[in-house]
Amino acid sequence: MILATIVDWNALGKVVVYSFVGSVAVTTVFSVGIVGLVRFDDRRRAGAGGMAYALLALVCALIVAFVVVEAIVIMAKK
């Protein structure tokens, strides 16, 4: 098989796995952050605190910010 010798299957496999995990992870964290923010807003309006949700949203925002910085570092190292 010609393809078996000329395609870099190792790099391709890494791209598939890492991009799948990275993409789903970022979407999950960002979506959980939105849930935290919305729940915090609901609790705050009801006068029931909801600081745990605010903390959750903050942690998610920090993780996303870290990912963005990491992405820029990857571009710069290329």
Partner: protein, 371 residues
């Protein structure tokens, strides 16, 4: 062999290609943002243009030329580079006129390969590299992005299900602005360097700088400016296709498509397996739509895009070969050839534009399509 007239023509043509690359690929970064109203169309192109400009300065490890892996580099002359650029520009403009996103990098490689075949025959082309570094990635990129974009939107819907749509929409719009910014930055980094590489190659070939010299600062600034101006000018036909004609998307789909696209592009870049941004983003948009409902994707539009992707290499190659063939009629190192080709090309462009500009696609038209 020194001919400053040919050098000036090659540099100007390379910058023109950079400009078309900018407006052709604006859709990759901003189409979903504009479609979901995360940003106003005109603000989005300014945002993307500035980040494309900045991206061009992030990494300056410029390759000798984007085509060096695919053809025998010892055979490449300024006239061949010129022919390749003309082929790539012609294909970019042709696909733009039909509102079809296609890879500018593939067009450039196709153009240069076509010119080299006319100059030296098929033996000068590295067929294995074409399969492993261009054709296989072109097959994998949209399929991978389709699967990942689909998985991401299913996860997002699962998590946000039951929440009131207003705050969720605002949240994902913010996410789209961030992910669209990353895509713009990555585009400036990747694509402006191709032009820098080509101009540097032409300067080396013409004896203006030595082969071990770095890229001159003026080349970096000019390439960054050309791609930013191209991005700013829009390319609204393609933005309309990617943003509204493949699927009618909500903000969660827009965010999932963009973040999946950014993840695939950056991961691939990190592992040295470059994929076309256009193929990735288009695949991710289709995946985000199909995961919600298969019939949500306009498969006819998707089919036209895939046809354009398949045709990119041979069509740009044919046009690049033709441009080089006409140039060669006037003999080697003769500026008359490129001048005649440019005159013919600009005349043809004028004719096409005169017809197309009767019904231009503007930011207003694109915004209206989402309403």
């Amino acid at each position: 062999m020194k001919n400053d007239t040919i050098l000036v023509i090659v540099v100007a043509t390379a910058l023109a290609f950079d400009y078309t690359n900018g407006f052709h690929d604006t859709a990759n970064a901003i189409a979903t943002m504009v479609s979901t109203r995360a940003m106003a169309p005109k603000v989005a192109v300014v945002y993307s243009a500035l980040l494309n400009f900045a991206g061009a300065f992030i990494s300056l490890k410029v390759a000798a030329t984007v085509a060096k892996d695919f053809v025998d580099p010892t055979l490449v002359t300024p006239e061949i580079v010129f022919g390749g650029l003309v082929g790539a520009i012609a294909w970019n403009l042709a696909t733009w006129s039909f509102g079809l996103p296609s890879s500018s990098s593939h067009a450039l490689i196709g153009g240069v390969v076509g010119a080299v075949i006319v100059a030296a025959g098929t033996d000068a082309v590295n067929g294995e590299a074409l399969i492993s570094k261009l054709l296989v990635p072109a097959l994998i990129a949209p399929l991978l992005a389709f699967a990942i974009g689909g998985a991401a939107i299913l996860v997002a819907y699962r998590i946000i299900g039951g929440l009131s749509p207003g705050p969720v929409t605002r949240g994902y719009r913010l996410g789209q602005i961030v992910s669209g910014g990353l895509l713009s930055l990555a585009h400036g980094t990747n694509d402006a360097q191709k032009t820098m590489g080509i101009i540097t190659l032409a300067l080396v070939a013409n004896g203006n700088i030595s082969s071990d010299a770095g890229t001159p600062t003026w080349v970096i600034v000019c390439a960054a400016t050309a791609i930013a101006l191209g991005t700013y000018s829009g390319g609204w036909r393609i933005i309309k296709t990617v943003g509204t004609r493949i699927i009618k998307m909500d903000t969660a789909q827009g965010f999932s498509a963009q973040s999946s696209g950014a993840a695939v592009i950056l991961t691939a870049s990190h592992f040295g397996y470059p994929l076309s941004t256009t193929h990735v983003i288009s695949g991710a948009v289709m995946g985000a739509g199909a995961a919600k409902r298969l019939s949500a994707v306009r498969w006819g539009v998707a089919g036209n895009m895939v046809a354009a992707w398949i045709l990119t290499l041979p069509a740009a190659g044919a046009m690049g070969g033709l441009a080089y063939g006409i140039t060669r009629i006037f003999g080697a190192n003769n500026a008359a050839g490129p001048i005649v080709v440019l005159a013919l090309f600009l005349t043809g462009l004028g004719f096409i534009f005169a017809r197309r500009f009767r019904r231009p696609t503007t930011p207003t038209v694109v915004a209206g399509a989402e309403a």
